[in-house]
Each structure stands twice: as structure tokens, then as C-alpha cells.
């Protein structure tokens, strides 16, 4: 079967060959994960059954497991405040988890803004929009550095006043108003101005988690890259398309592993490939068919 290049409908071949469910496996799992994590916080206020308390900034699960967002922790440090031990332990646990399993796992499997930007990317693709221009992908690191400098100069968590990730997850969990404007702004930006603009180019939180997981174990491999028929579907759906080429096309590396820290481990490339080129594996698995 030759590749049918259809940039408006990537994954059509995969749906035909693997079935709809298999062609959306990781997408569904991710949505279940993102929604499920929010629901863990909601069973308490809704049914009085407390599983996780607090929100993604800092939480206490089953009255025993403290978790604290390390990016917020670092902002507090930059603002000149040393958080107490509960936050320190919580941040250490989160750092260890993402350093091990992939930093930007947070972006693809936890962050609720991902649903917004995925929706914008889907619509932009469907409408065939090419408008606007994305900023350089490194802008996020400048925003990250700037957010910490801002905290240092003002002595407060200034970025948290506008951080869309914090605002959205907090508003959802605590039923607060005020997040709609933020969601619409990001959706409009990603739809009309920059493809994958927010998560892939600007978000300092994603940049931070990316740095955390640079040496993480869980990786996606293009171990069956010999079967690639250049249909470009994986590039069309990938939120960070630049990470695929080195592994798939041996550009600058021999390893079939996607080793770029920008990869969010979302698994969408696995979903849409009808040639079964990609698989989840660990970073020491160098097996490859070519």
C-alpha cells in the first residue's frame, strides 16, 4: 500500500488498517489520564471521598503522599523563600518521577491545557490553516529564565498570576471562574497565530519539565523505521515534530530512539502509523530493523 498523503486527515490509513480504537489508543489513554487525575481531586468535594486534596500545584493524596510542582517550588526559591519540608519532599518525589519516566510526560498525560492546544492543533489541521508564524522553539527557555528572574526581582510568584496551566487546573478543581479568557486566548493563539504555539514554543512549565526529563528512561523508538513509507502522518500529529527526524531518518544519530527532551511521550505517532514503526521502550533499547 503506497502512502496516501492527506495532511488534513493524518491517521486515516491507521484507522483503516488497525481499527479506530487501536489508532486512537494512546490518545484515549491520555485523555483518561488527564481527566482521571482531575477526578481524583473531585471525589472529595463531590462525594466526600477524599483521594487527592489540593491541586496540581501541591497536593496530599490519601493523607500520606505529598506532591508539589517543582516549577512552583523553584519559583518560590527564586522569590527568596525556602518552602517547608512537606513541599520539599513533595517536589523531590515529583522530580524523581519525571526524571525517570520522561519530563514532558506531564504535558501529555497530566496537564489540562494540553486538551486545549490539542483541540486547536486538530482544528488548525482540519481547516488547513497556515496563518501566523510560530516563535522560535527556544523562546520557552527564555520565558522560563524570565519567570524565575521576575520572581527574584519582585519577591513574589509573579508568573503564577498569569500561568495558564496553574490557572486552568486550579479553576477546574476548585470551581473558580476566570479561566475561560485564558483558555480562549491560548486556543486562539494556537489556532490562528502559531501551530503548537503555546505548548511547543512558549510554555515555561513544559520547558522546565523537559529539562527535568532529559535523561529519562521511557522513550519512544522508531525501531521499525525500515517500514516507513514517508506518509508524514506522524509529523502531522506530533506536537514537537522536530524530535522525530533524528530517530526515523537517522539524521545525526544512529539510534532509533527519540532522545530529544522536547518529546512529550504522548504516543500519538504510534497511534497514527499504520506501519507499526514506533513503540514505547526504554532508553537503552537500541534494537532497530535498519
Amino acid at each position: 500500500m503506497s502512502a496516501t498523503r492527506n495532511p488534513l486527515h493524518p491517521g486515516r490509513d491507521a484507522v483503516r488498517d488497525k481499527g479506530w480504537l487501536a489508532a486512537h489508543r494512546y490518545l484515549i489513554l491520555r485523555r483518561v489520564s488527564q481527566l482521571g487525575i482531575l477526578l481524583l481531586f473531585m471525589t472529595g468535594p463531590w462525594f466526600g471521598l477524599w483521594i487527592a486534596k489540593g491541586n496540581l500545584a501541591s497536593s496530599l493524596t490519601l493523607d500520606i503522599l505529598p506532591l508539589t510542582d517543582p516549577y512552583l517550588f523553584v519559583q518560590s526559591l527564586a522569590a527568596g523563600f525556602m518552602p517547608a519540608s512537606a513541599a520539599l519532599i513533595g517536589a523531590a518525589i515529583v522530580i524523581a518521577f519525571y526524571a525517570l519516566f520522561g519530563g514532558r510526560l506531564y504535558c501529555a498525560w497530566v496537564c489540562p491545557v494540553n486538551v486545549v492546544t490539542d483541540a486547536a492543533a486538530w482544528l488548525r489541521r482540519r481547516l488547513g490553516l497556515k496563518s501566523g508564524r510560530a516563535p522560535d522553539g527556544n523562546t520557552r527557555y527564555w520565558v522560563l529564565a524570565g519567570s524565575l528572574l521576575l520572581a527574584a526581582f519582585t519577591g513574589t510568584l509573579m508568573w503564577e498570576v498569569v500561568n495558564p496551566v496553574s490557572i486552568l487546573q486550579r479553576s477546574l478543581i476548585f470551581g473558580l471562574s476566570g479561566s475561560l479568557a485564558v483558555v480562549l486566548a491560548i486556543f486562539a493563539y494556537d489556532l490562528l497565530v502559531a501551530s503548537r504555539g503555546w505548548c511547543g514554543h512558549l510554555c515555561p512549565m513544559g520547558a522546565f519539565y523537559g529539562l527535568l526529563g532529559q535523561k529519562s528512561l521511557v522513550r519512544i523508538t522508531a525501531d521499525q523505521r525500515g517500514k516507513c513509507d514517508d506518509c508524514m502522518d506522524c509529523f502531522a500529529v506530533c506536537p514537537e515534530p522536530q524530535v522525530i527526524r533524528p530517530a526515523l531518518k537517522k539524521a545525526g544519530q544512529d539510534s532509533p530512539l527519540i532522545l530529544d527532551a522536547d518529546c512529550t511521550n504522548c504516543g500519538r505517532c504510534i497511534d497514527v502509523c499504520n506501519k507499526h514503526v514506533f513503540h514505547f521502550t526504554h532508553r537503552f533499547d537500541q534494537r532497530s530493523d535498519s
Binding site: 505529598p66 527556544n138 527557555y141 519567570s147 520572581a151 486550579r170
Partner: protein, 269 residues
Amino acid sequence: MSPASLARRKFLNGIAAAAGGGALLSLVPLLAARPAGANPAQALRPPGALNEPDFLAACVRCGLCVRDCPYDTLVLAPVGGEVTGGTPYFKARSIPCEMCEDIPCVKACPTGALNPKLTDIHDARMGLAVLSDHETCLNYLGLRCDVCYRVCPVIDKAITLESIHNPRSDRHALLLPTVHSDHCTGCGKCEAACVLPEAAIKVMPVALAKGALPDHYRKGWEEKARHGSSLIGDQVEMPVRGLEDKAYGDVRVDRDAPPPAGINSGWKP
């Protein structure tokens, strides 16, 4: 493309990225721009909250204190509201702090933005109650409302009723609710309970409510008590003509008459 032009392109892209990032960040203070400490005076922080600048560096806006507040007193501020988005506060007139003995909100705080050193809720200083309107307070009008005094969890210490003469009727007392900053925790029970449509007693930030004496002021009666006797020696007692046989300071002309009670209105039965 030559390596040199590629390097130049990379460099220029880097500059553009930095400029873009800077532009994005410069929006933040604009959006966040509010006068320093611009929380409304009626928005009170939970017990043990660090002073506002430190609090805004320490609070990660997780809402654990809100979740553990058994009376739903604490709420998280929505974005774009009058209080810094995501931070906990309460309004005394809506739901005041019930001053839990075990202070669950402080225990819940993972960062120490609510100071864990606060172990006795009576040491909390969420604000200071102020009887801000003498014109409508029923006790100031001469009635016996006393509600703020009665509901005060630190009754007779944080709020006392000070009895003074009521010059309007000339034969009643005014029992004035008086707040003592040594004991008031700023829980807001008085403000919540005030029977008026708009509370005459309100909890305000301590800095807003509290006056300060100049450093060099001394209260004579305190100095005298500490010293055991007057620091300036006994006062010279000058004789008063016609009152030579009376105790010093007794100015009554008719020894058998009752002492005068304030302003004499001339009322007769």
C-alpha cells in the same frame, strides 16, 4: 546554505526568541499591576499567614488550607478578582474564622506560607476588629445590644464593655464595646454577628487599624506602678481657701451632698 549564514541565522533566531520571551514576560507585571498590597481591606488571610509580600512568595496556591477548613471559611481567589488569583482568604462578614483549636489550615499548608509555628490559635493575628462606626453602633446609641461582645471567642479580653456616663439621658450608662489588640485575633465573629444591615464593627488589617504612640511617650500611671512611687516626687499640696479642713482634691463645698455625676442636666423628679 553556508555554515556561516547558518550560524548567523541561529544567532538571529536566538535573539528573536529572547526578545519574544521578554515581550511575553513584560506583559506579566502589566496584568499583575496593582498598587502594593492592594488586597481589599476586608479580605483576610488565614491564621498564621506570613506578612503579605512573604506570603506571596511562599503560597503556591494549592488550596490545601481551603480543603481542610471545616467551616468553609477560606476560599481561593478567582483569577482577575480583587485578591491575588489562587490565594486563600476569607471575608469575616460572610463566614468568619471559628478559631479551631487544632488549626487545620496551618497544618495543611505544605510550604509554610501559613506559619507552622502558630500552635495556639489565640496568637493568630488575621486582622484587628475596629468599632468603626460610632454613629450606628447600638451600644453607642445607648442600647444594650452587646452582640459583638457576646460572640467574641476571647470575650472580656479582646472585647470589653467600657461603662461611661450617658450625657443624653444623664442617668444611664453607655456600655461601649472596646477592642483590645493584645487579644483580638481578627477572627471576625463580631463583624459577622453585628445586627446592623452594615456592620459597625469591622475586622481590618492590623496595619490599617492600629495607631502608634511616639516612642518617647510614657504613661505616668504605668511608670509610677513600675517604680513603686511617683518618679517626680510627691506633688506640692497648695492650700485652697475655704477648704482647709478637707482632704486634698476634695472640692465639694457641702460635705454631706452626694458627689456630682457628670453634667447636671437640672432634671428634677
